[in-house]
């Protein structure tokens, strides 16, 4: 469905069911150069299991208008505006990669609006290799190839997708190609520049899950330790590792990811 925020149309995918504000809400926040469709399986699952799902295309992505937001903080402000526009008092936030930083920052600056926090493939800080930043600016094809190489575990580089007949790396490439020129470069620069992740983590009050792919080369597990430690000072934090998965867990291991999120959201 389309909503208007700050005068710009925003596309919100609701997982195949109408948005119902009476149900508990989950906001799914996509990563750099992506759109809502990376969350298809998870969004459809929760929309059909008692939740209302809000999976927006971030400004300047997918079918949403508006200018790109150049910092994680600005996107977090926008997420709060989205909650306001949709009259959502409180939601669980699930973010992937760049989206995990947005979710983290939102939980830090508007703790009363966030019920639970799920960081999928998230580390802080999230330095981006200069070669990838350069490629995103000057050679998108190369940037897409680098992202595919680092996002998919060795076993899924050849495919054998859980989704019958779908070539996941080519799907990922097309989603990134589908975004306007400059989107990926802006997103990656925002990730690279986000310096206050650990400070934000120390301000998070809600239960938080970090879901890590065992074979993630984009945000490797060893880089997650600092964020885990910062979160654990104030919030109940769970680490969930998906064996064999890379960074693209929504596509590579959709069922395990869905069940991991579900298990965490249902915990007392």
């Amino acid at each position: 469905m389309l909503r208007t925020i700050s005068g710009h149309p925003v596309f919100v995918y609701t997982g195949g069911r109408p948005f119902d504000p009476q149900r508990p809400v989950i906001v799914f926040i996509h990563g750099a150069g992506h759109d809502h469709s990376v969350w298809n399986f998870q969004a459809r699952h929760f929309a059909h299991h008692g939740y209302s799902v809000v999976a927006p295309d971030l400004p300047g992505h997918g079918n949403s208008g508006g200018a790109l937001l150049a910092s994680i903080e600005a996107v977090a402000d926008w997420i709060v505006s989205l909650l306001d526009e949709m009259r959502i008092a409180q939601a669980s936030l699930v973010g992937h990669s760049m989206g995990s930083l947005v979710a983290l920052q939102t939980a830090a600056q508007a703790p009363e609006r966030v019920r639970r926090l799920v960081l999928v493939g998230g580390v802080a800080p999230m330095p981006v290799a200069s070669s990838l930043l350069d490629a995103a600016r000057t050679n998108r094809d190369l940037a897409h190839s680098m992202i595919n190489q680092w996002s998919y575990a060795p076993a899924s580089q050849f495919g054998a997708s859980a989704s019958p007949g779908m070539c996941l790396t080519n799907v990922n490439r097309r989603i990134m190609e589908h975004q306007a020129e400059g989107v990926l470069a802006s997103d990656l620069a925002a990730c690279n520049a986000y310096a206050q992740g650990l400070d934000a983590a120390a301000r998070v009050r809600c239960p938080t899950a970090m879901i890590c792919g065992e074979r993630d080369q984009m945000t490797p597990m060893r880089a997650a330790a600092a964020l885990r430690e910062a979160l654990s000072t104030t919030a109940r934090t769970r680490i969930i590792t998906i064996p064999g998965a890379g960074h693209a867990m929504m596509a590579e291991t959709p069922e395990i990811l869905t069940d991991s999120i579900r298990g965490f959201l249902l915990e007392e």
Partner: protein
């Protein structure tokens, strides 16, 4: 410059879409000869039907062996996904039925496989879908044929049987200017010789019966979604951009902007029309695809040798093979088919129908049958077989004469093939002397 690792065609042909099976570690792709799949519980069953979870429900819609084949061709073509179908014709029908309904119109190359020509000319009009055929090499003709109700452009990489080389970038541009996709039948080239998506095409189909299998034992088809066509921006495809009551009210382009076509083709087209591939055939086609790159290079080398030999023969009036400098599509082929032009060719024999019959009956190595793309060399006389329903006028416009012979050059020793052709040509020559 930093490089990113991407696997090449030879590697993908062996590995894409498959990992050793989790149960027993089988290295080869197992044949999942089952119609249906046990649900662990009711909630899981509902989730599968509802696309909340990936997986298989019923083999008409998806099957694990077929999925390997589908993913392999998608990887080789550079597409987002593929659908395995009962035949190449089923793939063509699935593409059309997914995109349009009664009242719609197709612009197609007139140099098409006879089966495709039949579907578009005689059968689809009964269902309200009409086609305008154009000279594939005349780009203005593609433009002139566009109508408000046009929903698809369709051509072959190399147009059977005249071997016209389609200028895919130019025709794709015309299609996109008209907000419609370009579907390419790439059967004769395979992804080893040309990847139509990289040239601007939006959908690709294969008769996997031909080179992909290569062994001539299994009929099958593949329809590949390139994932680049913007259905929402086009605004001409309500089947992909409006809620579909027949499948959970799904708006396929909203669900997946880049795989809307593949989603609808499987969830509606395979489900309702039912032209699915047998997993046994999928397995057999996969066995062939493992050696596809090796075979295509050998096919091309043999074909070039044979074409040059025929061109020099006094009884041969004309050889149509884009690998020859005499072919009108030669220059374009050097750009669009730098790895070679496949191994199907046609030539015009002096002496017409009588000489043609004598030629075919004089052959020993070539098999006289209605197929192309086998590892074995094949020969046919189109005017009396594959294209016999076409009028003389249509035949002529498709570049087929009474004495046209079509060859599909196989993997035999080239010297043996040339000796066999010379044997046939000698027999044809004797009919001329008698005449």
């Amino acid at each position: 410059m930093t490089q990113a690792k991407t696997f090449q065609t030879e590697t993908l042909a062996l590995h894409a879409g498959q990992s050793p099976d989790a149960g027993f570690g089988a290295r080869a792709t197992p044949i999942y000869y089952t119609t249906s799949y046990v649900f662990p519980d009711s909630d899981h069953a509902a989730a599968l039907f509802n696309l909340e979870r990936p997986g298989h429900v019923y083999s008409r819609i998806s099957n694990p062996t077929n999925a390997v084949l589908e993913e392999r061709i998608a990887a080789l073509e550079g597409g987002v996904g593929a659908i395995a179908t009962a035949s190449g014709q089923a793939a063509l029908h699935l593409a059309i039925a997914t995109l349009m309904g009664a009242g719609s119109h197709i612009v197609a190359s007139r140099a098409l496989y006879g089966g495709s020509h039949n579907l578009l000319t005689y059968t689809l009009p009964r269902f309200g879908i009409t086609t305008t055929f154009v000279d594939p090499c005349d780009t203005d003709a593609w433009v002139r044929a566009i109508r408000p109700e046009t929903r698809l452009f369709f051509g072959e990489s190399i147009g059977n049987p005249g071997l016209d080389v389609l200028d895919i970038p130019a025709v794709a541009q015309i299609a996109h200017d008209a907000r419609v996709p370009l579907l390419i039948d790439a059967t004769l080239v395979t992804p080893c010789l040309q990847q139509p998506f990289a040239l601007g095409a939006d959908l690709v189909l294969h008769s996997a019966t031909k080179f992909l299998g290569g062994h001539g034992v299994a009929v099958g088809g593949l329809l590949v979604d390139g994932g680049r066509f913007d259905w929402e921006a086009s605004g001409l495809f309500p089947t992909l951009t409006e809620p579909y009551d027949g499948f959970h009210g799904m708006d396929f382009a909203e669900e997946s902007p880049v795989a809307a076509f593949a989603l609808r083709a499987r969830r509606e087209g395979l489900r309702d029309f039912g032209a699915c591939l047998s997993p046994m055939n999928a397995f057999q086609i996969l066995q062939g695809m493992e050696t596809l790159p090796l075979r295509m290079h050998a096919h091309v080398a043999n074909a070039q040798t044979v074409a040059e030999h025929l061109l020099a023969h006094p009884l041969v009036q004309k050889v149509s093979y884009p690998g020859l400098p005499t072919h009108p599509g030669h220059a374009l082929a050097q750009t669009l088919l730098p790895q070679g032009c496949g191994s199907v060719m046609s030539f015009e024999l002096q002496g017409g129908r009588t000489a043609g019959r004598a030629f075919i009956e004089g052959l020993r190595v070539f098999s006289h049958l209605a197929n192309v793309g086998d590892a074995k060399s094949l020969v046919i006389h189109p005017a009396s077989t594959t294209h016999f329903r076409m009028t003389d006028e249509d035949l002529a416009s498709a570049g087929i004469g009474e004495g046209t012979i079509r060859l599909s050059i196989g993997l035999e020793n080239a010297t043996d093939l040339i000796e066999d052709l010379d044997r046939g040509l000698h027999a044809a020559g004797r009919t001329l002397k008698k005449g």
